[in-house]
Symmetry: C2
Subunit: 346 residues, 2 copies
Amino acid sequence: MTAIHPVILCGGSGTRLWPVSRKATPKPFLPLLSEETLFEQALRRVAQDDRFAAPIVVAGAAHADLVMAQLGDVPGARLVIEPAAKNTAPAIALAAALLPRDAVMLVCPSDHHIANNTAFRAAAMTATALAREDYLVSFGIAADRPETGYGYLRCGEPLAGGFAIREFVEKPDRIRAEAYLASGEYSWNGGIFAFRSGHLLDQLAAFRPEMARLVAESVAGGHSDGARFYPAAEPFVQIAGDSIDYAVMENTSRAAMVPADMGWSDIGSWAALADALADQADADGNIVRGQADLAHCSNVLVVSDGPRISAVGLEGICIVVSGEDVLITTRDGAQAVGKLPRAVNQ
Amino acid sequence: MTAIHPVILCGGSGTRLWPVSRKATPKPFLPLLSEETLFEQALRRVAQDDRFAAPIVVAGAAHADLVMAQLGDVPGARLVIEPAAKNTAPAIALAAALLPRDAVMLVCPSDHHIANNTAFRAAAMTATALAREDYLVSFGIAADRPETGYGYLRCGEPLAGGFAIREFVEKPDRIRAEAYLASGEYSWNGGIFAFRSGHLLDQLAAFRPEMARLVAESVAGGHSDGARFYPAAEPFVQIAGDSIDYAVMENTSRAAMVPADMGWSDIGSWAALADALADQADADGNIVRGQADLAHCSNVLVVSDGPRISAVGLEGICIVVSGEDVLITTRDGAQAVGKLPRAVNQ
């Protein structure tokens, strides 16, 4: 059996984790949950296991040196430098074009957290088997709350280890999210995919022919420099960017999902980070990274790169100090951090 | 008619306004409400008015240079350097001993805010008249809420412009404070006093003879250096420190109070400062000193000496950044700031 080819996407900006996540060092490259960065965790998840080939990493030029530094000494690993940020469909297509047509690619974001790597690998094996049968497979993350910030997948007919996808649902409102959760038919769309690379390119050519053509031209005109591959910029910058969901998944008749209950979080806000760090909380639910004195506080997250934080009487507040910036937000407000003037105008 | 002699006490530490108020530069010497410091405001309150003589300032050696710098060029002003912090009774007695026995002294804390100086001066005139008749006069601050952080004065028989004090009450609990407020018989004890200096010293000698003797020895053995007077340390450090309330006011039969409704605040916490700055608040009740971006916030106070503050979703929170410290507290929690490790162990 041929190995699975991990494709790790490093395109996100992560402004909702400002002021720690910044343009120069965005979320994937930060040690938010442990000594390892999220990108390093994503690499380790598909390493030291014969079932996985060396990874292909797709990133922008601004972060190429960060990627190489954190990638370390992985034999055979490749870095594809996107000439421009064009969302996930072109990024995935670049990687697909560099692989044999019969390779199965496992597309993983670099900025998510997965607590249970065993469950992840089990789902990856199931997804791979479906991808070999030319299904386009999305991981369906087990929903445990009526989240309004994610897209949802609705299960259809059972397949081997998974389900056909009956429906893709955009971010719902609260009432619909609660109904989805209660029905048991819906999973979150976590942005993790398995494809046979040739099949993915064929499907892209069917639904987004111009994008497929420009990606192919860009790869044909590209050049390598050691582990780095530089697609030609001139065709690539002409691409009308789009997500793989919009460009392919929502159009194909071969969409499938594999359920995955693996302690997943997109660490999409400081509140989400606090949730992911819950096992490090003290008896009052407080989590401190850095130095802090908390009096009469509960469910407070402190992340400070220097100044000592003193707090009194707070409940459910996130406090983040980084460089010259101080952020204080409620958990509910954490979703709006990326729209703050200082986060936008970095 | 002889002038009133202002005596301005600079002994407080103001740790509840940490991290801005620190040992080296405590609360009286900070521009908390305007460009002027609280001490400068206290000076101005009794300046440029023929009814007031030049002030006597009482302060510790650590703050003598701050006092002189902020005192500026006030002809005849004197600074008495306390050899040790012994609470208000010895500090007031030092000043009394430096004045003619028939002088009326008006004792004022240096770290309070008074919005209405006209009302203050009117109360001072009334208090002075009573002091000339050998009453020991306390300003009774009009209570406007059931405050549990202050002592209360209970009115007795009417006197010219004031009342005899029937009772001194320690900081009450909430239920008693509400009863006091409802009764209309109680005022806050604001720590502002008028005495005839010779009478004050006689009363001190009656109730605290050892303290009176040691103060007298300390003054007799002291020396001047320009505007500064240094009482002898050796007797002074032996004094068992006490407040003027405990040492004299609660023991005398001549205690009187003059009602004063003058926009008084002891600026005893960040929440109290926010109240005193209410006229500078925006439409959502937010007050910003420094740079801040506030989204969905109300009744938030920001004081920053440098870093820009970004906040989302907060209600009734005080945020203070000073030097290497960051403080975040609820309004209710503000009373506990002085007990934080960083405030205690400066």
